[in-house]
Symmetry: none
């Protein structure tokens, strides 16, 4: 889930933003002053910052200059050309004048998150030594590349998506053979066996656990 830091001192606008973003499925974090924002930014990385310009203690412009790798959307009551241009040139990615429409803000947020998407995190499922690279269709075990077949990949992906849950045999069968339903349990067993064999070549931990009579699960 994407993390968005809201930097805004006006309580009512702050709450409005919080609600808007949370309804859209974002995780919100909150700063009510410039100094508070900087403290949070030192501790944690965010995917996006929504920044009010007129802040107590430390003005928004200073934050723009300190932040390097996180996209910033400025929300400001200042509608003057100089303010806009200055913010954009000194590092902000977008500038919306208050009052703004919620849907437009959401769209502009989507733009920023989209272009920053290359972040590896979205495309990787990590579990202990295992790393499943979704856009590369490969598995890495302790930084060594392990080649998987399409079905092996599909099975492991399901398991790693919910590593604490038991995935039933039927659930797995559904994902393996989207079209043909005559993919029997025989097959699944063989696939699991092959998967385990491949994993065993790279690590001593037996990662895939069988839950008797039900299905499979990642070993804790």
């Amino acid at each position: 889930m994407k993390k968005i830091l809201i930097v805004e001192d006006d309580i009512s606008i702050h709450q409005l933003l919080e609600e808007l973003l949370q309804n859209e499925g974002y995780e919100t974090y909150h700063a009510y002053s410039g100094t508070e924002a900087l403290l949070l930014l030192e501790k944690e990385a965010y995917d996006l910052i929504l920044l009010d310009l007129m802040l107590p203690a430390l003005c928004g412009e200073e934050i723009i200059e300190k932040v390097q790798d996180t996209p910033i959307i400025v929300l400001s009551a200042k509608s003057s050309l100089e303010d806009k241009v200055h913010c954009l040139l000194s590092g902000a990615n977008d500038y919306l004048t208050k009052p703004f429409q919620g849907k437009e803000l959401l769209a502009r947020i989507a733009v920023q998150l989209r272009s920053n998407q290359a972040s590896f995190l979205d495309h990787t499922l990590k579990y202990k030594e295992l790393e499943l690279l979704n856009d590369q269709h490969t598995l890495m075990i302790s930084n060594e590349k392990v080649s998987l077949t399409k079905t092996e990949y599909a099975i492991l992906k399901q398991l790693l998506l919910h590593p604490t849950q038991v995935i039933s045999k039927n659930q797995l069968l559904d994902f393996i053979s989207e079209d043909t339903e005559d993919c029997s349990e025989y097959s699944l067993r063989v696939h699991i066996s092959n998967l385990r064999k491949k994993i065993k070549d790279y690590t001593s931990t037996p990662y895939i656990e069988s839950i008797w009579g039900i299905g499979f699960k990642m070993k804790e």
Copy 2:
């Protein structure tokens, strides 16, 4: 020097934009209709597109969907929320309502060029010995010129844009045959085969790897 494509049918606005950008040191290119824009985009790579929405022949929205890797700033007289949101969500990077202020446009252009700077759009895509010259539509292998057909070029470009990722067969088919959807997998296979053959004449590395059941990927 950065190349900017202006897509706008209104002559007076077009000239205004041209002057504004040239004074700022950009190289400008010009299309007065949607179809003309697409033709230019096929031939050459640009750093940015300024796009009017209401165009003769082909509307701006369709261009947004076809363009993949070039940032787009929409300039439109349409100020409705739906238009904005739709454009931004379908691929535009920014949206300015006419009339706009020149300095703001310049600042927003700078934002787009800045964030795209580090990326591949240096007009050449390099990958080991391979060099794909986007503005000349040619491939260089160890400084020798290799002639590619239009489709071969399109395929290789997709692969080189994301050299670590697997590009699915459907993804490639979309780029090859923008109009006809009956371009079968047969074709794609032949094109890949021809591409490999050409590359093989100049280097011993087999650069294009097949990922079984999914697509293709550059060899690491």
